[in-house]
């Protein structure tokens, strides 16, 4: 039998600092970088690689020249300041040509229009991104596409107003029929009515009102758009349009109705089976054959439509993954409470499925935004290839290589990284399951 001494503590111990080597950076480094021979070796090799890269890049970046009128002048300044063997970046190009990266060939005296459209876009997106903002702001968000179109392309104000009336017609038809015919049929009939309005009434009516009340801005053609203006117009529109379309396709793919399911599956698999560039060529060339000869269907609009369809197919599959992750009990509970299909989807299923799908959806959005540079292949001035080619064609900047790509790359990175951080924030905010 073991002996023990009876013991009663009379004074409680105070909290003390952990011993050195057990805290802060030393502990972190020991645990993460030098926890064993293998790790130590890898850490040292990594350090050497980083130092080697930095030894080449840092001087190049530090020797950068901001004030010069040509690449040759840049090089002369670098040689004069840092010696004959020194290399350096020629940021002067960015300083002189940044406006083309941002606006393309948009008329310089009208730069205020895309700038204003961009600022208003931030206002329009804000209530979607942050639920805490007043919901009334959504009215402006709904109107924004029309304001934006008018600011960017100009022309008579009556064109977007008449388009808006088409949406009003859709809402009216839907309202009148929905109680009798149900959601899908009345939405379909509403679309037919709106399409008829846009195809038949749109042009004559807006022209007629314009002849009486000529209010308008100077027109800017689509081929004058370029740079990040073009990327953001295509990217944001396609992002905004592809999410609802992707949701409908995902639901269609899970539908009990044979026709709806077949069409959805066929569409998704066709789009995913074809490269985006093929679709873009279709947009720029083939569509022209199918449309009546005198129609002038705007090239940016055509590209937006096809990029949207492309993204929607991918997003539909991402959302289908989210739907599959929901337990069957959620559908059953919604049914058992007497919610109808659309109520159950809107209130129970989609909020959860979309939350699960946030990382995938945002990945699709980021991919879509970067893919907007592919419009270079149908002759549009994207920031990466299109504008860079224009800049290089200038005799002053001929031979400049890294700087345009780094500049465009940094801007793309900032936007995409922003999207990624936002999605992580949103995921944390919506996390209510406390797993």
């Amino acid at each position: 039998m073991t002996e023990f001494t009876p013991f009663v503590r009379t004074d409680m111990l105070e909290q003390r600092e952990p011993p050195a080597g057990q805290r802060g950076i030393i502990l972190w480094a020991r645990e993460n970088l030098f926890s064993g021979p293998m790790n130590t070796a890898l850490s040292l090799i990594g350090l050497v690689v980083i130092l080697w890269l930095a030894s080449h890049m840092v001087p190049w970046l530090l020797h950068g020249v901001w004030n010069a009128n040509s690449l040759t002048e840049c090089r002369e300044i670098i040689t004069a300041t840092w010696g004959p063997d020194a290399t350096g970046a020629c940021w002067a190009m960015v300083r002189e040509r940044w406006h083309q990266y941002v606006f393309g060939f948009y008329p310089m005296d009208l730069y205020w229009r895309p700038t204003l459209a961009f600022v208003l876009m931030l206002v329009a997106i804000a209530p979607i991104l942050y639920q805490s903002l007043p919901r009334q702001m959504m009215w402006f968000t709904a109107l924004y596409p029309f304001v934006c179109y008018w600011l960017l392309w100009g022309g008579t104000i009556w064109a977007p107003v008449v388009v808006l009336m088409g949406f009003g017609l859709f809402a009216l038809v839907f309202r009148l029929l929905v109680s009798g015919l149900g959601v899908p049929v009345s939405a379909g009939l509403g679309l037919v009515a709106a399409a008829a309005w846009w195809l038949l009434v749109q042009t004559p009516l807006s022209a007629a009102i314009h002849s009486v009340l000529p209010v308008g801005l100077r027109s800017v053609d689509s081929d004058q758009f370029g740079g990040f203006l073009l990327s953001i117009v295509i990217g944001v529109t396609a992002i905004a349009a592809s999410l609802p379309m992707g949701i409908l396709l995902a639901l269609g793919r899970k539908s009990d109705m044979m026709l709806v399911r077949t069409l959805s599956v066929g569409f998704i698999e066709f789009i995913r089976g074809v490269p985006l560039i093929t679709l873009l060529f279709t947009a720029s060339l083939l569509l022209q054959y199918f449309l009546p000869p005198e129609t002038n269907f705007d090239i940016i609009l055509r590209v937006i439509i096809l990029v949207t369809l492309f993204a929607a197919a991918y997003i539909a599959e991402v959302i289908r993954g989210g739907l599959a992750a929901l337990p069957r009990g959620q559908y059953e509970a919604a049914d058992a409470l007497g919610l109808d299909y659309w109520q159950a989807q809107r209130l129970i299923i989609m909020p959860q499925a979309l939350k699960i799908s946030i990382p995938g959806i945002v990945s699709s959005f980021i991919g879509l935004f970067k893919d907007t540079t592919l419009v270079a292949f149908v002759g549009l001035q994207d920031p990466l290839k299109g504008i860079t080619a224009v800049v290089r064609a200038d005799i002053n900047w001929k031979g400049i290589y890294w700087e345009p790509y780094i500049f465009a790359g940094v801007i793309f990175f900032l936007i995409c990284f922003g999207m990624s951080r936002y999605s992580m924030w949103l995921e944390r905010k919506l996390k209510t399951d406390h797993r």
Binding site: G329, Q330, A333, D335, L337, L347, D433
Partner: protein, 259 residues
């Protein structure tokens, strides 16, 4: 359970029919899950349905609110026959409450929102009124203080009581319970059964699929034993437990009561 005092003053079976099932049959593909089920449930009845797993007892009560579709026969709930007519189905579902084995609360909504969702969207009740009703039923199941938490923050027993409150907020005429205590720890089973007993004391028409035989003896007015998709035996609980008739029932009872 049996020694618990139960107020039987309102437990009255009326002669008004709540559910009528005639010659109902159901198949899963080739598998004949429910075979010639006939059953009449009167208002105010407390029926416990038991039987081995795969006997079709859950499927039977899930047919009553059309979570499962039957292929032959007739089911009439509160005067409405269940057919492919979606309007009828939604009507029946809003009159019949259901409690699931795995609670099936909506994890993205608070407890209060879980309870007010269907009254607001299906019954079109104003939000404030729906919230008052919800708080009333949450107090009844003894968790009003959890109203603004999310389901994931509650224990299993609490979640199941919220699920019962959520169903009650629709003011149902009939309640279906599909193994409500099977996913719970022993300590939490009692709090859920107590809630169900309280409901029975108020005269609710209840169909419970459960293996809680104490609950059956204390509350039920009728026990139904199913096997292989058929009703094998039904009787009032005392007779059913003390004097089972069929061999299959005797075997089943000896197995679940034997340990």
């Amino acid at each position: 359970m049996a020694e618990q005092a139960i107020d039987r003053s309102k437990m009255m079976v009326s002669d008004e029919v709540a559910i009528q099932i005639n010659n109902m049959n159901k198949w899963y593909g080739q598998f004949h899950v429910l075979r010639d089920v006939n059953m009449t449930v009167y208002k105010g009845e407390r029926i416990v349905i038991c039987g081995p797993s795969g006997s079709g007892k859950s499927t039977l009560i899930r047919c009553i609110n059309r979570l499962e579709e039957h292929q032959a026969g007739q089911i009439v709930v509160d005067g409405t026959e269940l057919t492919n007519d979606l309007k009828n189905i939604d009507k029946v579902r809003s009159e019949v409450g259901m409690v699931f084995q795995h609670f099936n609360l909506f994890p993205h909504l608070t407890i209060l929102e879980n309870c007010t969702l269907a009254p607001i969207w299906v019954r079109k009740i104003p939000k404030r009124e729906a919230e008052e009703t919800a708080m009333h039923f949450l107090s009844k199941v003894k968790i009003p203080d959890q109203a603004h938490k999310y389901p994931g923050q509650l224990s299993g027993g609490q979640q199941q009581r919220v699920a019962i409150a959520r169903s009650l907020c629709m003011k149902p005429r009939i309640m279906l319970f599909d193994e409500p205590t099977s996913a719970l720890d022993p300590e939490m089973i009692k709090e859920v059964l107590d809630t169900m007993i309280e409901l029975a004391e108020e005269g609710m028409t209840m169909l419970c699929v459960t293996h809680e035989m104490g609950f059956a003896q204390a509350v039920a007015n009728r026990v139904i034993f199913m096997d292989k998709g058929q009703i094998v035996e039904q009787n009032e609980p005392r007779e059913f437990f003390n004097n089972p008739q069929s061999e299959r029932t005797k075997l089943f009872l000896s197995q679940i009561l034997g340990h």
